[in-house]
Symmetry: C2
Subunit: 189 residues, 2 copies
């Protein structure tokens, strides 16, 4: 069934979130299913993780392109992006840990297009003088949204307080002055 497949994916996200090294057996039993059944849907562990990653990339790039459509300032766009991407990032936070390790390369490849979009946004901000330039756009964007993931990871809930703090933190490290940062997140509910 498709229902089983979806449940496996959902549960896999939780299980891998707690322990990125969890095996197919762990995922299976957590999904109330036998290991063999998982292999029925996903030929290999890599397939499972790839599917998970593709899901995350699709959702996130969707949000980013949508937010990018507006011609607002880069910092305001960043705030709207983080606000809308937060639940997704919180859900898929495990991918941050999974980027290192066995399947790191595959994940990295899938995340590539998203990374580029992010770097473009940050570069636009740097060109506009909104973001600081102490790091190249490629690195700065990575580190900034890495911080968002990290805070999402250390946050137990996916409620707004964590999101707000993560947004402010990322804005600060992008070089946005604290006053402006606070004003921006105040705008965005």
């Amino acid at each position: 069934m498709n229902e089983t497949r979806d449940r496996i994916l959902d549960v896999a996200l939780d299980v891998l979130g707690e322990n990125p090294d969890a095996g197919m057996g762990d995922i299976a039993s957590a999904a109330g299913v036998v290991r063999r059944t998982v292999y029925g849907h996903f030929p290999s562990r890599l397939d499972l993780i790839r599917t998970l990653t593709e899901r995350a990339v699709t959702e996130m790039t969707g949000v980013l392109t949508e937010v990018n459509a507006s011609d607002a300032a880069a910092d305001a766009t960043w705030v709207r992006f983080i606000a809308r991407v937060w639940p997704v990032a919180h859900r898929y936070r495990v991918l941050l840990a999974l980027r290192r390790g066995e399947y790191g390369e595959a994940i990295h490849g899938l995340l590539g297009p998203l990374d580029e979009l992010l770097a473009d946004l940050v570069e636009r901000g740097q060109d506009g003088g909104v973001f600081a330039q102490h790091l190249p756009a490629g690195v700065l964007s990575q580190v900034a949204y890495g911080v968002v993931f990290a805070i999402a990871d250390s946050d137990l809930s996916n409620r707004t307080p964590g999101a707000r703090a993560a947004t402010i933190t990322s804005l600060l490290m992008l070089g946005v002055p604290e006053a402006r940062a606070v004003a921006l997140v105040g705008d965005q509910p």
Copy 2:
């Protein structure tokens, strides 16, 4: 020999840095030694990693306590800390990745005292109004020095340019205004 033991430790840092999942065999051959010999010095893989971690903690706490002795402002202390800890952080950057995974708990335990010292410094800065308070000191300190590690990780060399950028970035996210941040790192050669 003690010489062999030290070489194993040094090489292990490199090998694990490239691939945190590297096995005892990989480390052994990289050290120009047979796997059995490694087990002669370190009864288990955990022992090796624990030794590595203890080394890192010793060096880093040494730097931090030394720097903390001065009664300078928290942000200036932070700058001096990062500047002096940078080569060490760069060398032991793999521990960041190793904190997740099998031995995460052991490493976390060893890193505990260092974490507390860092949190204390950040809290001092927050109380003094030098650092922002959008995050509790415990989280903020972790994220800030996590960023330093992350940049150290993405940095090919351990030369000063990366260190300078990492310091500015961490200062920004601690809530230090960009102008002050630049002035501070300018001071410190």
